[in-house]
């Protein structure tokens, strides 16, 4: 494919994603090829019918709607996606993928983007959700299993989480709920461990050696 010269238009074309057009350049095709290759999703087949978005229970809360995510990938607007709330708000409920008439794996694409964002230096738009996932994996590495009480405790001790929870009033609710759960015998102070923890730690070492 021949190189398109962007520089001539750069002054007149605004880079805002929603209001102005952006050119489809080499980079755009590159992103599409890469994500299609890595997820096996046939993103090119999308004809923007919006069925995915209509089936999505969380689309109301997303800044880039599921069908737009697919379009953005086609256009190569990677950074907009990395900075979106969508990739964190998505519940992985798979409604979009299941109902797409072209079998585009929308949920798979969003999950792939979330994976990429997690390994980038771009601050996640939904910090609490991203930090929670991270905390979960840390707990898993520690015990081989996850104990709800230890998980919430570790999560609250992450930078700023507690402060923000006090501010928006969720901490009070959480303590009340925690107490109620404890009274019902649903929380356990002593975490159960798996004896296979050594093998699990090995998995984490492999992960750290992974190239992203």
């Amino acid at each position: 494919m021949s190189k398109i010269n962007h520089t001539a238009q750069q002054e007149t074309v605004d880079s805002g994603p929603s209001t102005e057009r952006q050119l489809i350049g080499d980079r755009g095709n590159h992103l599409l090829d890469r994500i299609e290759g890595e997820t096996g999703a046939n993103i090119s087949a999308c004809y923007q019918c919006e069925r995915c978005t209509n089936a999505c229970p969380a689309s109301y809360y997303m800044d880039i709607k599921p069908h737009q995510v697919i379009r953005y990938v086609q256009l190569g607007w990677h950074e907009n996606l990395m900075r979106s709330s969508t990739i964190w708000v998505c519940l992985s409920c798979e409604m979009c993928t299941t109902y797409c008439p072209n079998e585009v794996d929308v949920a798979g694409v969003i999950n792939h983007l979330r994976n990429t964002a997690a390994h980038s230096s771009i601050p996640p738009k939904e910090r609490h959700l991203a930090v929670f996932h991270q905390t979960f994996l840390e707990q898993l590495q520690r015990f081989g299993r996850v104990n709800e009480l230890w998980l919430m405790n570790a999560f609250n001790r992450k930078p700023h989480i507690l402060k923000e929870k006090i501010k928006n009033g969720t901490l009070k609710k959480e303590i009340r709920l925690g107490y109620a759960l404890w009274r019902k015998g649903k929380l356990h102070f002593i975490p159960r461990r798996s004896k296979a923890i050594k093998e699990i730690k090995e998995v984490y070492r492999r992960k750290r050696g992974e190239v992203f």
Binding site: P57, A58, Y61, W88, V89, L91, S92, C93, E94, M95, T97, T98, A107, N111, H112, R114, N115, A118, H119, E126, R127, H128, L129, F132, H133, Q134, F136, L137, L140, G144, R145, V146, N147, E148, L149, F155, T170, L177, A180, L181, K184, G185, K186, L187, H188, R192, S194, K195, A196, I197, E199, I200, E202, V203, R206, K207, E210
Partner: protein, 279 residues
């Protein structure tokens, strides 16, 4: 009959009531559950959200252990089932290498589907000594158990029937509704209470509109979302049962049943008394 059993972290923690009812029900059905030795967490939502490689690798150790045991595996938690199957499919396709020997031909059963097979339903009907007639329920399946169909193997993913069949087998009256597989919000409430409340709230509202007395579920996370949401509703909420709790109730006249339900936020005891299942 023997099966290997992967309980998952929830059943050791918040869903210990589910675990207790499963153990009791399988005992009464004469099926032996053998807990996988040293099983480890499947990674749940966190693993696949942050790294697909972890989402394939973490469940694989359990698959390897189960294959060595040589028995079919049954998983009571929708999320664990989904993650185990996902890992298995990815290994079959040779997309990731895992450090354990996994051939990928282990039979992984989702618990409700295993029990809703015709033979099992027959067996369950034989065990019922106190049919729950007059109890109107809606069955809620959630996402992970049925979607994506390519992973879960459900062909009726739009209108699944396994819980309906089981609830009917113990004598309950099943109401139809369109929200069987609509997401309850999963763990999004950790960071976005607003989304959680709108999704869970809508499910409860729709369930009440069908005129049901109770909701029947099989997923620990769905149960706690639906139940905890009603924490402040006191007695006026709609009870959320694990299907195995209903089976246990129908199998044996046991007035200790009051005690099982103490752990629920929405107390089902008044409802069960009114229907004459408890004294």
């Amino acid at each position: 009959m023997k099966l290997s059993f992967y309980p998952g972290c929830s059943l050791e923690g918040m869903a210990n009531d589910y675990a207790r009812s499963i153990i009791a029900v399988f005992k009464q059905l004469g099926i032996e559950l053998i807990e996988l030795e040293d099983w480890t967490c499947c990674g749940a939502t966190a693993a696949h959200s942050l790294s697909e490689m972890m989402a394939v690798t973490l469940p694989a150790r359990n698959l390897a252990t189960a294959e060595k045991l040589g028995l079919d595996l049954v998983s009571p938690c929708a999320n664990c089932f989904n993650r185990l199957r996902f890992s298995q499919v990815m290994i079959q396709k040779n997309i990731y290498d895992v450090p354990w020997q996994v051939s990928g031909d282990l039979q992984i059963h989702e618990m409700t589907r295993f029990l809703a097979e015709p033979d099992m339903i027959k067996l369950i009907k034989q065990r019922v000594t106190r049919p729950l007639s007059g109890l109107k329920v809606v069955c809620y399946y959630g996402c992970q158990m049925v979607r994506p169909p390519k992973i879960t193997g459900f062909t009726d993913y739009e209108n699944p029937q396994t819980l309906d069949l089981l609830a009917r087998a113990v004598g309950a009256e099943v109401r139809d509704w369109s929200f069987k597989t609509t997401c309850c919000g999963a763990s999004i409430g950790i960071g976005r209470k607003d989304i959680q409340e709108s999704l869970t709230g809508r499910l409860l509202q729709k369930a009440l509109q069908t005129g049901a007395d109770a909701i029947v579920v099989s997923c620990p996370l769905c149960q706690s979302n639906l139940d905890i949401f009603q924490m402040d509703a006191g007695g006026s909420g709609i009870p959320v049962f694990y299907f195995t709790e209903l089976m246990r109730l129908a199998f044996k006249k046991n007035d200790k049943a009051h005690k099982w339900f103490k752990v629920h936020f929405t107390d089902p005891v008044p409802l069960l008394k009114e229907k004459g299942f408890l004294t």
